[in-house]
Symmetry: C2
Amino acid sequence: MVELIRKKYPFQIQPSTVDFRLKITLSAMTDILLTTAGMNADDNGFGTRKLKQHNTSWVLLRFAMEMKRFPEQYEHITVETWIEEINRLNTTRNFCIRDNEDNIIGYAVSIWVMIDRDSRKPRDLMTLDDFAEFACGDTVPIEKPRKLKSVEGEMFDSFRAKYTHIDFNRHVNTMRYIEWIVNYFDLEYYKQKNIQRFEINFIHELVFGDEVCIFATETEKDDYSFEIRCKEQVSCKAKIVF
Amino acid sequence: MVELIRKKYPFQIQPSTVDFRLKITLSAMTDILLTTAGMNADDNGFGTRKLKQHNTSWVLLRFAMEMKRFPEQYEHITVETWIEEINRLNTTRNFCIRDNEDNIIGYAVSIWVMIDRDSRKPRDLMTLDDFAEFACGDTVPIEKPRKLKSVEGEMFDSFRAKYTHIDFNRHVNTMRYIEWIVNYFDLEYYKQKNIQRFEINFIHELVFGDEVCIFATETEKDDYSFEIRCKEQVSCKAKIVF
């Protein structure tokens, strides 16, 4: 079992996942990490298919990523992932991203809850057999995702949640939130700057037909805060540091 | 060289590519096919990286796909792809999609032009060394993508082309057009119906900041026509038959 606790997954960066600079987008990079989370959970016997038998599912609560550089089109990378800790209410999974020459190019930390698929309420993680054994305690050298503050920002986009935004959990998919946020900046900005740290808190899920409003503000130089709201309810808070 | 002319590429359907029914979305299925097109072009020595040396790039002109069924989350599929024919102005690439038991679940046909990266004008395909040798003449048993008619429809969505819509060719990516189109239908509709044939014509590329307007109309029962326009210019026409 020990060899599964920390495992590496290889990927090649596909053309459909890169931006105009030929670098992978923030959402596609996050997608790769969450894909390895799913694979590793499956490998260890607590993937979404297993959880579905108990009418539960994994939901991402908080996520932080720091990238020295974003890999480019056709580049080969590996993502190593493992569980750092497990509590009753949530579990912390870490990621280390390496390039083809084994240089570390980024780290990420994710915090997950297990929800009941009907009530959408969190379930006690200690009810998962032997799950606690998978926590190896290994940390990564970046700040964990914090509880982000609310910020007064300006609304820069608004629309209804549509078919392609909704995932297997029947709510708006994590990647869509990230795409909506990074679209605050224009191509000129991305020509000059690179994202160094990204951080997101998921607070209230969005479902099909919800009226989504996205707010942004520059809190410090090259440091932006975002809020996604539906009516008066905050759905998600995020932060990007360039 | 012959073994490269028709080649099979394996894929597993990832959770981030499925909809609320756990079936792969139309855009993600198309993305897989276009990824194999890129891989096969690379394997044969005429991929986008090679073309870039001559300041040219592949651009998709027309595409048609018919699916008996859309594969589900975690399913393993293979995509076989090959070039049917090559003319001065365009080339036809076909696809055959099989499930894990080797049953054919879909076919697709794509028509490509090679453009000059600066002038954005088509270039003569006969200038590609030995390219004509790769045309094997093998067809697929679906109707090729036709030149679609203009239709009067109702505008159902409108927004500006943003950062995540733009790809390595510096125009709006094919997948984004498809996502915008399939969002015409709500979840209730997708619970009852499955896409049987999808067809798209790309007429005028969209770039960052363009004001995108999307029109739809039901031309016959379960047969929908779409047009994406920027100002008075038609950017793309599409058709979905359920």
